[in-house]
Symmetry: C2
Subunit: 197 residues, 2 copies
């Protein structure tokens, strides 16, 4: 007979393996590109053979979806949720901006999976897309709302300029940080423009 304890243990073990695979996938993706690694390579890295991976992910796109989801979970942990908080000072906003810059540039492949469309045919599942929206809401929308900014155009302006600094760093000089000071300046520019903080 199967005890509940055994089921739990089995589930936990399964989830742990899943996690290990996802992390190995990130490592491989950083080296070979997000679409450039194979399931054979991935299996080898976790000490399995390729077919065993199908116990954890039904298709390669399902793996991508788990990575996408994982990326947004990481971002969520890295930034400070702004929901129900007092408005940030200008310096605190810059601090969050630098954290975002560092998060994105430290792993360009992760940034691409999360914010660009690097894999033809892959789209995040509804669940993962919902998490992405949730993170955006908790961090950006809330932060701006706390400053009194709620109209979509201004929110987009903020998203555009901050992501612009990040994506230029990654496109023109990945691995470096020479665009990092520009994040502060871009945020100054924005805040001067909207006349708050």
């Amino acid at each position: 007979m199967l005890e509940t304890q055994d089921l739990d243990r089995r589930t936990r073990r399964h989830l742990r393996s899943r996690r290990e695979i996802i992390e190995a996938a990130w490592e491989l993706a950083r080296g070979e590109g997000i679409a450039g690694f194979s399931l054979r390579q991935l299996a080898a890295r976790v000490g399995m053979k390729a077919p065993s991976l199908y116990q954890y992910f039904a298709t390669k796109n399902d793996l991508y979806d788990a990575m996408f989801h994982d990326g947004y979970q990481q971002l969520q942990e890295r930034l400070t949720s702004q929901e129900g908080l007092a408005p940030l000072t200008r310096e605190e906003i810059k601090e969050e901006g630098r954290k975002f810059f560092d998060f994105c540039t430290e792993d360009p492949v992760r940034y691409a999976l999360m914010c660009e469309r690097p894999i033809p045919g892959f789209e995040p599942s509804a669940q993962s897309a919902a998490l992405a929206e949730e993170v955006l809401h908790a961090q950006v929308y809330s932060m701006l709302a706390n400053l009194g900014i709620r109209d979509q155009e201004t929110i987009r302006l903020f998203l555009g300029i901050t992501n612009g600094i990040v994506s230029q760093q990654i496109a023109l000089n990945p691995g470096a940080q020479d665009w990092r000071p520009l994040m502060d300046r871009a945020i100054d520019l924005f805040l001067d423009h909207v006349e708050v903080a």
Copy 2:
């Protein structure tokens, strides 16, 4: 005996075929992704078999390089060279910004090839990279220099925010133009900040 005329004719014919292949490659790339089309598909589209393509491009990466080069030539034709011109008015700058936005968003795959790094292992040749730099110089550096802006940080700020608007449009809602009005606003923001025009 081969006449010079014949050589010219042959060369022109060769270049015409090359051009036809590049254009077919763009069409395919728009549908299948930049790395998602095969040389077999490409050959079929121009009425050839795959091996014949090797008369025109030694490898697939050479084809990508030709496309990269072609993209920057197209951009060069689309924008107005600013070298030796009088400073633009604010409205004229916005006009150029909108042209850039339209150019980039009308073909996201082209934008990706030109400005992101969508193909692991592909880097533009020295010649193509030089063209890219030349275009950037003739358009952006010159335009800003005519306004008295010459320091690198401010130039980068301009590049960051304008590319940011474009890349958000492509990432979040490709095919649409709902971020287009933000290009004007971003340029206002920038010009207010640097206090010119």
